[in-house]
């Protein structure tokens, strides 16, 4: 699209003149040909790429299905390996059911909890630091990096192998994981229980998921215009989803650094 001659001069003039109050007419172009031609070129490039790729690389095909021969490791399709990787840190009801559901629901509620009107329709980090940081952390650090770990670094027995290491199916990894009440200083508390529910874990979970966000609300909501605008309901949802999401790296850290398996054990489920 050729620029109209003298455009700079017009812009200079417009700068000098006082700004009119009316909304300027939007800068629009015809879809035919400007958009349709890009779509056409894009489709052709993509089809050519797909064709070359498919001519060169065959889709995988292994021996016939055999329910009596379990391969080690058995891996889910690559796009679900983030979930399979979470199984290392959480029980299946959490990693396989609750967290995936929360991911989907959490994505759906984004437009209703992000009430910042800025950054609508253009790229910006400055005007929405919290939203962009949280999303990037969830998408890149948690989702994508766990998939990369699952695809490339997990071998037999779901043990970690570096890419240059040989997958040894007989690799022995000592299981030294303990639950939180039997770890370090917590041993001194003697793991008190009510109805077989560990009180230490219960207290920690309540502190983390309820007391922490509520205390933060009462401390900050008077002075923070963002929290006031958000209101208690939206704030509650944001806090719950954020803390649940952060639960994953917290559990990963506790496992990798201190070999802690469960924070909280109950007769029905473990966290």
């Amino acid at each position: 699209m050729a620029e109209a001659p003298g455009r700079a001069a017009v812009a200079e003039k417009a700068k000098a003149a006082p700004k009119p109050k009316i909304k300027p007419i939007e800068d629009k172009v015809h879809c035919w040909p400007y958009l349709v031609r890009s779509e056409f070129v894009c489709s052709i490039i993509l089809m050519a790429l797909l064709m070359v790729w498919s001519l060169g690389i065959d889709a995988p095909m292994e021996e016939p299905a055999n329910p009596t021969n379990t391969p080690n490791p058995s891996k889910a399709p690559w796009y679900f390996l983030g979930l399979q990787e979470m199984l290392v840190y959480f029980d299946p009801w959490m990693a396989g059911v609750v967290l995936p559901t929360l991911i989907i629901v959490g994505l759906m509620v984004i437009p209703f909890i992000d009430i910042n009107p800025k950054g609508n329709g253009y790229y910006t980090f400055q005007e929405r630091k919290f939203a962009v940081t949280t999303f990037l952390f969830g998408f890149l650090v948690l989702w994508v990096s766990l998939i990369v770990t699952g695809v490339f670094l997990r071998g037999p027995g779901w043990n970690l192998f570096w890419p240059w290491e040989v997958w040894d199916p007989h690799k022995v990894v000592a299981l030294t994981n303990v639950d939180l009440p039997y770890w370090g200083p917590f041993k001194l508390l003697g793991n008190p229980k009510i109805l077989d529910v560990e009180l230490l874990g219960l207290t920690l979970v309540i502190l983390y998921l309820i007391v922490l966000p509520v205390a933060f609300w009462f401390r900050k909501s008077k002075t923070s215009p963002i929290l006031q605008e958000l209101g208690p309901l939206r704030y509650g949802i944001v806090a719950f989803l954020l803390l649940t999401m952060l639960g994953l790296p917290i559990k990963m850290f506790l496992r990798i650094a201190f070999n802690i398996k469960y924070i909280w054990v109950t007769p029905w489920f473990n966290v």
């Binding site: 172009v29 035919w32 379990t70 891996k75």
Partner: protein
């Protein structure tokens, strides 16, 4: 001679048959540019005009359009594959081998279907990433984002159900691992929290409902085939109609207010 050709062209262009198909000529006028879009059922997904920044690749990455194109590729190649494939445990693997070695271009069609499916998962993610980064889910486009999240889920389920169909070691064990989670569903899975309250057993719980049995077996193959070829594509198509329609109704592609 030249005059004759010109007359012929005139006769064709002014014939009743031609004019019944094409409502306008091809001269590059603003009116025709609009009609080109408005009077064509395939083109009229587009508005006659869009904001200038919206056609820049670096704004949209073209990811939504590529995803839609891959969906179309998958539909076409998928229907071709359906002519040769039977979702029966005895035949499924043999039919895959038949496609690979005997059917002309069979392997190419299967490869295209497979790689386009992986590609679509990636492009859906990148599309969501782009929409988030441009804040395009913000008012008035909240609902379309929700539809998009459902479409993302459906894409993953479509890919996952298709994963089983080759009926080789890779597919049944990947699906076994993937569906094992369902047995831990709270209340509804026999190994999940509070399972005894709902009274579920290994044969009658969420996972057995999904698989049609206690293991990934022949009933699972048929179930996943029907989900993959009928149920999920129709559902996704319906939601795609809503998704595209809402883009137009919510004020077109997003831009600075």
């Amino acid at each position: 001679m030249f005059k004759r050709l010109k007359d012929l062209k005139k006769t064709i262009l002014e014939s009743q048959v031609w004019r019944s198909m094409f409502r306008h000529d091809y001269a590059d006028t603003p009116r025709n540019r609009t009609l080109q879009i408005m009077s064509n059922v395939w083109m009229h997904l587009h508005p006659p005009k869009v904001r200038r920044h919206a056609i820049r690749i670096r704004f949209t990455w073209c990811m939504g359009g590529i995803t839609f194109l891959l969906f179309l590729v998958l539909t076409v190649t998928g229907v071709v594959l359906m002519f040769y494939y039977r979702p029966v445990a005895e035949y499924a693997y043999a039919d895959m081998k038949y496609l690979q070695f005997d059917v002309p271009f069979g392997m190419l069609v299967r490869n295209m279907h497979r790689w386009a499916a992986h590609g679509m998962v990636l492009t859906v993610w990148l599309h969501m990433f782009r929409v988030f980064m441009t804040g395009s889910y913000k008012s008035p486009r909240e609902f379309n984002w929700v539809i998009g999240v459902i479409l993302l889920t459906l894409t993953l389920l479509l890919s996952f159900t298709g994963y089983l169909l080759p009926w080789d070691q890779l597919s049944i064990w990947a699906v076994t691992v993937g569906t094992n989670m369902a047995r831990a569903t709270p209340l509804l899975g026999h190994e999940g929290p509070f399972a005894h309250l709902a009274g579920v057993t290994p044969r009658y719980d969420a996972r057995a409902f999904l698989l049609g049995g206690t293991i990934v077996g022949p009933p699972t193959l048929l179930r996943f085939y029907v989900l993959h070829c009928i149920f999920l594509p129709i559902l996704a198509s319906l939601l795609m109609i809503v998704h595209f329609w809402r883009i137009r109704k919510d004020g077109g592609i997003s831009g600075p207010l």
